[in-house]
Symmetry: C2
Subunit: 396 residues, 2 copies
């Protein structure tokens, strides 16, 4: 009667949600400090002080009718211009307000982009492990999801598999680097091979294949520069969010940037505007737009994440765990000590370690550890990881 698909989506409780409820119960039973919950990927550091200062300044000084009034549908022209200037300054990539659409966060950036370009029956390629909502977003836009697993040795792209997965129906590939859940950053070499392959396939099929760069974790890298995809491939759409870079996950503010290098950039941007309109997204919240415009040069202090990663990754590796090289985001992707990640997670619970099995990310046999937690939580959890490891060694 109502939409069965939507009803099921609303009712399906996620693995992470179940762990959240279990953690709450367990904390009440044995105490907060005894439960080591690494399941939640929420920023744990505060927004830079400049953000709240900008909000207070804007509300104190600006005309409230203008401040809280409608901006144009794609967002305030001044804010979009500042973002474009920053893209140009930072990456050497030409950009203007004309192809930037302010959105209500990363999810909105993705749904608007997908609805803009997808026609019923198109295929969208994702690289596993991947953020599970990609499937929900792509299917709602009318696409079929094609999952291509990354190479297990380094979680870079497996080009043989990707080559055979791209068809004449492939409308887009979503690239998420730094990656949730693996923390891996795609190397420049991988990006160059990827764009060469996409160029070849476009020519072969006479189609356009869009590269959707989902970049909420761009600023969360610890030892490298993340290649800026529009510089390497003209049919790129960047989906950005300030959730992580400014530690504002609840504020849902970001943008879509359609590369002006693509042949039909104006048409694609028009389709982005049309999709924003049809989905109910015109004019991202104005106060947040103006706040972003005031804080473009700010970044949350990610040193805490780096410190966490160093301790966590090095100690777990020393113990004997196998972990994907974590160059960014705030996740470790660790190989389970048995084939079935669910069973492994159940056994970890005996040590009060709450981990997310990797199956929902489209890649079995691993667990995701979110290290956006207090440093001492990691310190106190390490003996439990050691005990869990020894437990497996002894039972061999």
């Amino acid at each position: 009667m109502i939409s069965q698909k939507m009803e099921q989506l609303g009712k399906k409780s996620s693995v992470i949600r179940e762990i959240f409820e279990y953690a709450k119960k367990r904390r009440a039973e044995i105490g907060d400090d005894k439960v080591f919950d690494f399941s939640i990927g929420n920023p744990s550091i505060p927004a830079p002080a400049a953000v709240n200062e900008a909000i207070r300044r804007l509300t104190a000084e600006q005309d409230p009718v203008a401040l809280h009034g409608y901006t144009s549908a794609p967002g305030d022209l001044g804010v979009r211009g500042k973002i474009a200037d920053q893209i140009t300054r930072r990456f050497g990539m030409e950009a203007s307000a004309a192809t930037i659409y302010m959105t209500c966060g990363a999810a909105a950036s993705l749904t608007i982009s997908l609805h803009a370009i997808v026609n019923e029956g198109d295929e969208v390629v994702v690289l596993a492990p991947f953020f599970p909502e990609y499937r929900v977003f792509a299917e709602k836009a009318g696409a079929t999801l094609t999952v291509v697993k990354c190479r297990e040795e380094d979680f870079q792209i497996d080009f043989d598999t990707l080559d055979s997965a791209i068809t004449d129906k492939t409308k887009a590939i979503i690239v998420n680097s730094p990656n949730n859940p693996s923390g891996v950053v795609l190397s420049l070499d991988t990006i160059q091979k990827l764009t060469a392959l996409l160029d070849k396939k476009q020519q072969e099929y006479g189609t356009h294949i869009f590269l959707i760069a989902d970049e909420p974790y761009r600023e969360l890298v610890y030892a490298m520069e993340v290649p800026y995809l529009p510089l390497y491939y003209k049919n790129t759409i960047v989906c950005y969010s300030y959730s992580k870079s400014l530690s504002l996950p609840g504020e849902r503010i970001g943008y879509v940037f359609v590369s002006p290098r693509m042949d039909n950039a104006g048409d694609v941007f028009a389709a982005v505007c049309g999709a924003g309109r049809a989905l109910g997204f015109v004019c991202a919240p104005s106060l947040l737009q103006y706040t972003i415009g005031e804080c473009l040069n700010e970044t949350a202090n990610i040193d805490a994440y780096r410190k966490n990663r160093d301790l966590f990754y090095e100690t777990l590796t020393d113990i004997g765990y196998k972990i994907a090289r974590p160059d960014g985001a705030f996740y470790l992707f660790m190989k389970a000590l048995e084939d079935d990640a669910y069973t492994f997670c159940e056994r970890a619970k005996k040590y009060e370690l709450l981990l997310v099995p990797s199956d929902s990310f489209g890649f079995e046999g691993y667990v995701r550890l979110a290290y956006c937690v207090a440093y001492d939580t990691i310190e106190r959890a390490l003996p439990a990881f050691r005990a869990l490891y020894n437990d497996y060694q002894e039972s061999k």
Copy 2:
């Protein structure tokens, strides 16, 4: 290649947009005070001071990680509870957080509700004149729009036409009272006849027909109480926005309230959650949610609108214009002085009067006047309306 529908939606410039551009040009030519622009329906009064005070207090006093962090997908439980309590206190309607979903404004409330309940091929009924985006939202959700014209004598529902327009495929009817563009409030008598008809049709077809109450203008009424639809019909979904009541149109904050009286309220609410998720809307901006929670008893000072309406309506009626009874919102719906509203609007331009022809609202032969402008703009425009009227009288 990309979505043609979305591209066209993004490219189609609206009548109002064209008037906006014309007004800009004309102001530059003859001066701001010589152009009388009644085309834009943006609140012109400031938000109550309590709103900015709440924002400053929250940013100064709350832990920034919590304040700017994710709330649960349907929104913060505390804020939703406060809204539910207000619904109960104000309307005597039972409500709880369990069926309230915080949204990014009125458009989002509507798209989420429609995607939750519509299956491909369903019909959604709207009452003309109607907000043109209803068509965009309903068609994107997979529905066909059925337009039922209101009675011209009082712009209440024409029940003969409505009776024959409802079929076994009718999934919902959208009711917008006070109405954009007419400013008309549906009477209690109309509401009672409507719900009786819907009950009869549900029984006849063995279907559920949802009443979507689109209520952004609820607080903008000048001499009456607007009937609260969930009290009269159990399959009601309320789409609310604080855009007008708190004069925060740019901030895009509102909610969906699924009446707990409907038989399958839990399933419908799950579908609302699923649609919010699939469209990319989970967790409305957190700072704005908390701000609303602090300002529930505030309303923007609408006396300015009332004063505008009284002067505008009374004087235009005295001149001889025929206008729908404007009990709410900030619009007058005035009969054009010739059959073709476009030609009438062109002739009005000679007097520097910028009016919106009613055709895009699905009701020909009228114009919409938005009176959310400065009082003296109306005062200064009245002689031009008189001259326009005389012009028509003389040319008869």
